[in-house]
């Protein structure tokens, strides 16, 4: 006969066997969550099931706090756990350490693959990105008409630019039809050309929720869009293919509204500042010319007619003074020379000779000096000039050749 165990002993023993088993002490199990319950203690209780079986699971608070998501019924997950037996009711259960969504790894792999492919094709090229208009006349939004996202966008736009113009293309933003609905929205706006910028928006969500924004066909239609497009999907940390292919990525839908519409007051200020500069530039330009004019009007060049007359008349005064001096000098020297000449003339004068006893005979008929006896015929009158008077005589006879 074998030994008889108490129930407690049995459960305890079975528990130890399970704990000692190398496979069951750290096992990874894939299944669907059901009967999920979160206790106030923070512990999570649920079952993991597949088509035929199910197993009880518990995740204690310390481990559950590190899960990247809150499990929901129907969710397919992969857990890492150890098998144990709950002593009190002898129930087999898994104590869960880690939990991840099933297929998430596959999704990331697919995302990376598509990203590399489209990047290689040049769909993300910066050179292909279109500029967002500074002042969109009308903004197109492809998003869900329900929920906070569109309200946030409208709120931000109203604050920045009260008279904005928005056209909403309602679309599912998660689920199987979302990608094709969003794509239709982008294409509709491109066909109708009713807007000059498009925002594709969605609020935050799980990787699966945002998955439609990693759709290849949607990415290509965004690339083809001739209207600039802003992608505003999820939170700041979420990146989708749409973000890469769009002309501008906004971290959130509200941020997209900030980016797409300028602050009206800032624009008014900018216009005002430019107008102000314009006025100041003109006034400055006038002032500069005025100064130049004043400077020129004081310059000699402009005053020249009068100045020249003055200068010339001064020169004239100077010249005439010089002239007078030089004339006077000339007159003086001439007078002195004349005085000298007169003195020498006086010395040479015949009167002086006469006063020394000489006399001068002239023919009174002709007035010519008689210098030879041949000029005289006897009986003709001869006038003798002495120093103190004339003597009228008559020639008696001539004696040629006789001197005293």
């Amino acid at each position: 006969m074998s030994a008889v165990f108490s129930v407690s002993e049995l459960n305890h023993y079975a528990g130890e066997v399970l704990a000692a088993d190398p496979v069951l002490s750290a096992v990874r199990v894939q299944g669907e969550v059901s009967g999920f319950k979160k206790y106030p203690s923070g512990h999570l209780y649920f079952s993991l099931k597949d088509k035929e079986s199910q197993v009880n699971c518990v995740a204690f608070r310390g481990n559950a706090a590190h899960f990247s998501f809150v499990p929901e019924n129907g969710m397919s997950v992969v857990i890492t756990a150890r098998a144990s037996l709950y002593d009190r009711d002898g129930r087999f259960q898994l104590v869960v350490y880690e939990m991840e969504k099933d297929g998430v790894g596959d999704l990331f792999a697919a995302f990376e693959k598509l990203k590399v492919k489209l990047e290689a094709e040049g769909l993300f090229d910066v050179s292909r990105k279109k500029a967002i208009p500074k002042l969109p006349q009308r903004i197109g939004v492809v998003t869900s008409p329900k929920g906070a996202v569109i309200q946030d966008i409208i709120h931000v736009l109203s604050r920045r630019f009260p008279n904005f113009n928005l056209l909403i293309y309602p679309s599912a933003v998660q689920g199987s039809t979302a990608a094709s609905e969003i794509k239709k929205g982008v294409e509709w706006f491109n066909k109708t050309e009713l807007v000059d910028v498009i925002i594709v928006a969605r609020g935050g969500g799980s990787v699966e929720d945002l998955w439609c924004f990693n759709d290849e066909a949607l990415a290509r239609s965004i690339y083809q869009s001739h209207i600039p497009l802003i992608s505003a999907v999820g939170h700041e940390t979420d990146f989708t293919i749409c973000d890469f292919v769009s002309d501008l990525r906004a971290p959130t839908p509200s941020a997209a509204a900030e980016l797409v519409m300028p602050e009206k007051s800032e624009l008014l200020y900018a216009i005002h500042a430019k107008t102000d500069r314009l006025t100041r530039a003109l006034l400055h330009s006038v002032a500069v010319r005025k100064n130049r004019l004043m400077f020129l009007s004081r310059s000699k060049a402009l005053l020249s007619p009068l100045r020249r007359v003055e200068a010339e008349s001064q020169r004239l005064d100077l010249l005439s003074l010089k002239l007078t001096h030089s004339l006077n000098r000339r007159v003086d020297s001439a007078a002195r020379r004349i005085g000298k000449d007169i003195a020498s003339l006086d010395a040479l004068s015949p009167l002086k000779v006469l006063s020394r006893g000489y006399s001068l005979a002239t023919n009174p008929m002709t007035g010519t000096c008689i210098t030879s006896v041949t000029q005289i015929t006897p009986g003709q009158p001869v006038q003798i000039q002495l120093a103190d008077g004339l003597v009228d005589c008559k020639a008696e006879k001539t004696q040629p050749g006789r001197i005293l």
Partner: protein
């Protein structure tokens, strides 16, 4: 075509760029006084144009609804008829 008619075609963005270039030219102080005055007049026209462009946008929030045969119709957004059912 007069200067203002020519400017009438400019978008806000284009008018702002043109205004900036006019201001810069006037700032440089080059050219004759007549040229400066004509630049100033251009600038004033452009400045008014920029301001009026800001007011020209019509405040409107519309949503597209199916109108049969793939056609869409714009209706004002925010009416109960356009956001049926639950609000998330």
């Amino acid at each position: 075509m007069t200067q203002s008619e020519e400017y009438e075609k400019l978008s806000f963005e284009e008018a702002m760029i043109e205004l900036e270039s006019v201001v810069s030219k006037l700032d440089s102080g080059e050219g004759t006084l007549d040229e400066s005055i004509s630049l100033f007049q251009k600038g004033v026209i452009l400045s008014k144009l920029c301001s009026s462009r800001l007011e020209e946008i019509e405040k409107k929030v519309m949503i597209l609804t199916d109108n049969g045969n793939d056609a869409k119709k714009e209706v004002a957004f925010g009416d109960d008829s356009t956001t049926p059912g639950e609000k998330e």
